[in-house]
């Protein structure tokens, strides 16, 4: 019984449940743009993504990493509202809790 947890932790994978995945460097992945939104508070990661998306052509792939607790939910929601395709999240410990998505612009 652990009384100390907050609301969003209902959906947040517990540390022991989350596979440890190393963050690939920006160079060795297939995306066209890498956005490091770590340490940005929501809605800043989404604002940055919208600005980047405006400069990229349809079909481009944008990879984003973020540490804000809302990013896990807001990045797919933004992609859905803007009709982009969004990958499943990948959770990383680096050592802070980080979420990664790849969004394919439409």
């Amino acid at each position: 019984m652990s009384p100390n947890y907050s609301d969003a932790s209902v959906n947040r994978p517990r540390t022991h449940e989350t596979p440890l995945v190393p963050v690939p460097s920006a160079r060795d992945d297939q995306s066209d743009y890498f956005l490091d939104a770590t340490d940005m508070r929501c809605p800043l990661p989404i604002i940055k993504m919208a600005r980047v998306a405006r400069e990229l052509t349809p079909g481009s792939r944008m990879r984003v990493i973020a540490t804000d607790p809302a990013a896990e939910f807001d990045i797919p929601a933004w992609a859905r509202l803007k009709e982009h395709l969004c990958s499943e999240p990948v959770f990383v410990h680096t050592p802070v809790w980080t979420v990664e998505f790849t969004v394919t612009l439409q």
Binding site: S6, D7, S9, R41, C42, I46, I47, P69, A70, L81
Partner: protein, 397 residues
């Protein structure tokens, strides 16, 4: 001679008494409704007549006892249960905690699993984690509990209890509680109803469908400091707290708060049909107005919902800035955005539904809201969103 020091509470009393009343429109009434005039009178009357311990046999004690019994009878008859099945808690949260704890212990031989939806209120999810092993059922994008997964979860054989809200406290979506109750009953699992956002707003399912129910007087204009637990006598429970003459809530509950709760429950149920028809239309109007603002996602079921609740999220906007802006226009609204919560986590309800969590505005109309208030809100809302977007430099997006 030195004068007595002025305490900050007496300063507050003096300063609020001299202020000219300005109407701050309460669009954040879920769980925090303004106490009605009748509620105030009832509270004052019970302070006058019901200050004694109602277990004493003297005249004052019997006076208090009559107030307590009448309150219990009123609430019982409205919820459709027997008088002795009503218990008054110091808050709805306390009612959830004790009911779910006692149910968990009472069923410990059967199992330790608690079946709950992912959009239940925090008090429920916290109790499920504390007293049991939660089996959390996902919801659809509009917030309906997945019936197939719920049915499967209650049938596995080690379930202590299952719970669902009638209508969601944040987004208003109604659940098919009669069906959820039926599948729980089919597996002999006690079914608890969270009616805390629903009592006084919509007709409840008949009492035969549930084993326990929690209601929240501060939601219907009854004031703070009291919660209601209705528990069917046949339900197997075991207390998780020491023995006390107040069996369910040791130390008892404030009698004026209890009496005000009962009197205002009767009042709000009487006015329910007329008020909820108006509120349903007003929420439709606000919903349409919000949907016309660029990059706004209105969430929750548009039709199958509580009459007075609406939630929407505005892209690229800070929820805190938006609630502050609306406050300047005289509207108190809630928000499920991370920046507005003490924990810096977004609303787990919005997260579970997979909808946008930032720029969130949560509206729940109080009983005294008028058509004029709604019209004014509709006229200021686009301006408020636009000015926050301009301030944040995102108006070009």
């Amino acid at each position: 001679m030195s004068s007595a020091p002025v305490s900050s509470t007496s300063e507050h009393l003096a300063s609020t008494a001299s202020q000219v009343p300005v109407k701050q429109v309460n669009f954040d009434a879920q769980g925090n409704s303004r106490i009605s005039q009748l509620g105030r009178s009832a509270y004052a009357q019970a302070l006058e007549d019901g200050w004694a311990d109602f277990r004493r046999l003297h005249a004052q004690g019997r006076k208090a006892r009559r107030i307590y019994d009448a309150s219990r009878e009123t609430v019982a008859s409205i919820l459709g249960v027997r008088t002795e099945e009503i218990h008054f808690a110091p808050s709805a949260t306390a009612a959830f905690h004790n009911a779910l704890g006692a149910l968990s212990l009472g069923r410990s031989r059967v199992g330790n699993t608690a079946v709950v939806g992912s959009t239940e209120r925090s008090a429920v999810l916290n109790a499920a984690r504390h007293y049991a092993q939660p089996s959390i059922i996902p919801v659809t994008r509009s917030g309906s509990i997945d019936l197939d997964q719920f049915t499967h979860a209650v049938s596995v054989g080690s379930v202590a209890w299952a719970l669902s809200h009638v209508g969601n406290h944040e987004v208003g979506t109604l659940q098919d509680v009669e069906q959820l109750a039926r599948v729980s009953r089919a597996s002999s699992v006690p079914f608890v109803l969270d009616a805390a956002a629903s009592v006084g707003h919509i007709a409840l399912p008949a009492a035969e469908h549930w084993d326990a129910l929690v209601a929240q007087p501060s939601d219907w204009g009854g004031g703070n400091g009291v919660g209601v637990l209705a528990l069917k006598a046949r339900t197997r429970t075991r207390s998780i707290w020491p023995e006390d003459q107040d069996l369910w809530f040791p130390g008892g509950t404030s009698l004026p708060a209890v009496f005000a709760a009962a009197v205002t429950l009767e009042e709000s149920v009487r006015a329910m049909e007329e008020r909820s028809t108006l509120q349903r239309r007003w929420i439709d109007e606000i919903r349409n107005a919000a949907a016309q603002i660029p990059d706004v996602e209105v969430v929750g079921d548009p039709h199958n919902r509580l009459p007075h609740i609406l939630t929407f999220s505005c892209l690229y906007v800070d929820g805190e800035a938006l609630t502050t802006e609306l406050d300047k226009y005289g509207f108190s609204v809630g928000s499920g955005s991370a920046c507005t919560s003490a924990t810096l986590e977004p609303s787990h309800v919005l997260a579970a539904m997979g909808v946008l969590t930032h720029g969130n505005v949560r509206i729940s109309l109080d009983w005294d809201v008028t058509q004029d208030d709604v019209d004014r809100f509709i006229s200021v809302l686009p301006r408020a969103v636009a000015s926050v977007r301009a301030l944040m430099g995102v108006d070009d997006l």
